[in-house]
Subunit: 434 residues, 2 copies
Amino acid sequence: MLKLRRLATADADFEARFSQLLAFEGAQDAAIEASVARILEDVKRRGDAAVLDYTRQFDRLDAPSVAALELPKVRLTQALAGLDPDVHDALVVAADRVRAYHERQVLQSWTYTEPDGTVLGQQVTPLDRVGLYVPGGKAAYPSSVLMNAIPAKVAGVAELVMVVPTPGGVVNDLVLAAAAVCGVNRVFTIGGAQAVGALAYGTATIPQVDKIVGPGNAYVAAAKRRVFGVVGIDMVAGPSEILVICDGKTEPDWIAMDLFSQAEHDELAQSILLCPDAEFIDRVAVSMERLLEQMPRRKVITASLEGRGALIHVRDLEEAVALANRIAPEHLELSVAEPEFWAKKIRHAGAIFMGRNTCEALGDYCAGPNHVLPTSRTARFSSPLGVYDFQKRSSLIQVSPEGAHSLGRIAATLAYGEGLEAHAKSAEYRIPHR
Amino acid sequence: MLKLRRLATADADFEARFSQLLAFEGAQDAAIEASVARILEDVKRRGDAAVLDYTRQFDRLDAPSVAALELPKVRLTQALAGLDPDVHDALVVAADRVRAYHERQVLQSWTYTEPDGTVLGQQVTPLDRVGLYVPGGKAAYPSSVLMNAIPAKVAGVAELVMVVPTPGGVVNDLVLAAAAVCGVNRVFTIGGAQAVGALAYGTATIPQVDKIVGPGNAYVAAAKRRVFGVVGIDMVAGPSEILVICDGKTEPDWIAMDLFSQAEHDELAQSILLCPDAEFIDRVAVSMERLLEQMPRRKVITASLEGRGALIHVRDLEEAVALANRIAPEHLELSVAEPEFWAKKIRHAGAIFMGRNTCEALGDYCAGPNHVLPTSRTARFSSPLGVYDFQKRSSLIQVSPEGAHSLGRIAATLAYGEGLEAHAKSAEYRIPHR
């Protein structure tokens, strides 16, 4: 019997229980932090030798050199060629759709000229080299390779270096095939904090990158946090979440399965349903009870739903949207009659899945948008991974002689006000003498 | 006698000396880290009471309540009205120019419809509430208020909460005037890690924000790093830098003063000149020697130039650009005959100042572009502060019945491949039965 948390906004204790539901703090483990700091320092100092040592220790892989840990390109194309035709086609179509969507995100350089001839703008350039971390073992998802690699390639990143641990030498062919589809340039079978360190600092064999993206375990996350500043990083993701708003007119089984699809990721994942129809909520609960038995990952689903899930009865959809904006969910399903109307009222969400047809799973794989999304309420201030994360801007300023005159006086006035004489003089030099 | 570092790319020891010049590691002080962690924890737990205690302790300000530390709005407009007319006008014109430039950065929502009726896109929304940290005392720059507040306001941020410490009760009227010009909504005279904590967690009096921006001392920087994830933060800035590429045809005094204008910020600031004309470099050195005497901040300038500055003789401008791309400078001046030609070859720079008229100081105050720029080689992967830092995106996905069919099959195939049965089933439910 699935013990589901049931809340209603009309209940006196709703606020307290709702706050408790949202409270989640990703604890930073001091032992992991210390271990990661030591590994990074060692990789920085000893380079390849340290990478080899840790790979031997953690992945039981005894390589004569880091070069021997690089997979030849043909290994990737072989993996792709060896796929079951259905899977091959699904992967290629998914990649094409993800690419087509991301091509719409490319930022362009721009300038404008003021009446006096002064030119202002921004020059947009891609990052030179990006590192892509891919977890080994059970959490190795080919879709994750697509979602991280394709935006980088669309941005024009010249070199994409993938690292993937292969504990005991076990290689995931689906992951390699995905790398082939995306045009990943180099692949090293290393992982953990040592791989993050190698990418951040560079070694004799592994080139230094400008940014590291991709999911990983607690060691990888801690290592990414520590090297931030030396290189860029993407968000350090928390547990995955789904919030479903349903008007009570969708098939209960569909909603139940959508909640499961998030819960099956991880025991800490969070699935919440908001609905104004109490009877429908009961029907979803019955569906969940029945469908759970068929799920191979029912243990994880049960732990996730009982630990962090909730079915919440709301007064109306307006109230549901207000709660959604407080939650700022990673995934939001609007399983309602007029999704366009309600989507406009959503201020914070990683991705909005609109209408009864649009289950989150489509977005996870092949709809086109990225599945790397802000978790843990960070949709309040951050965005899905995109091409824009692999481009950067340089301001362009070209002041005309007239502009040097008018701007020079303003700058000098303000610089003197701030006590910065050299700034003022430097501007005044450019004022033409008449 | 100014002891300037002179390098030439033709020298045998150039690579070693150049690497040494670029090596800079912002040490993280363990004592500061521990102190900041304690303060943040205390503010999170005790809220207003903790803020009052630390403000009493660090700023010698004994207020009866946090509400008493809020400045009434009229205090800001009074500060603006009380300015010297020249300064008033300079501030207003600078703000107008910064606003006009940033209005070109506003991101728009977009969608597109596929042939089968599936709609994909991104919905762009502003952050709800932003905290702006402004340092107290000597480093209180009104221009910094403009550069941080205006992009937030242009983005549509509804509430901008400024914090500025006033040690001993000393208020900087220029800073308040700048806040008035920018439409800052609330101002609290608090600072340090306690102000960052109050903005990140919220207290009974101070509202929780979604992002904290603005410069600060080591305590503020450490606090921002620690609250990152709970709220967004801007970059934690390192020392400021300028790289000047000159073809040897600009007035040597101008170049000397441009190098000074960076050096006067901070003893750790870095000013570097690249030039293919050895004789011109000598003339710049002579100018620097002569001009230094007139500089009120000559002590800081000397320490900065002798500690981290360099005059570098290069073979040609092509080589200068290659070095610039290795340095990825915060500020890059192209004091050359054809700045448009050379700017296109720059891959990494925070801001590019093109042509002999365009000194960095114009960009610091009033040209329009932001003066909050990536330092310490982070221009390899990051951008000037902009409107885009105060907006975020939500993916939009609305799948048509036909789309649910075709996408459902692909998603299910890939989900089964990843062992995620609930994902697969959730997608398959949407495939219309025929």
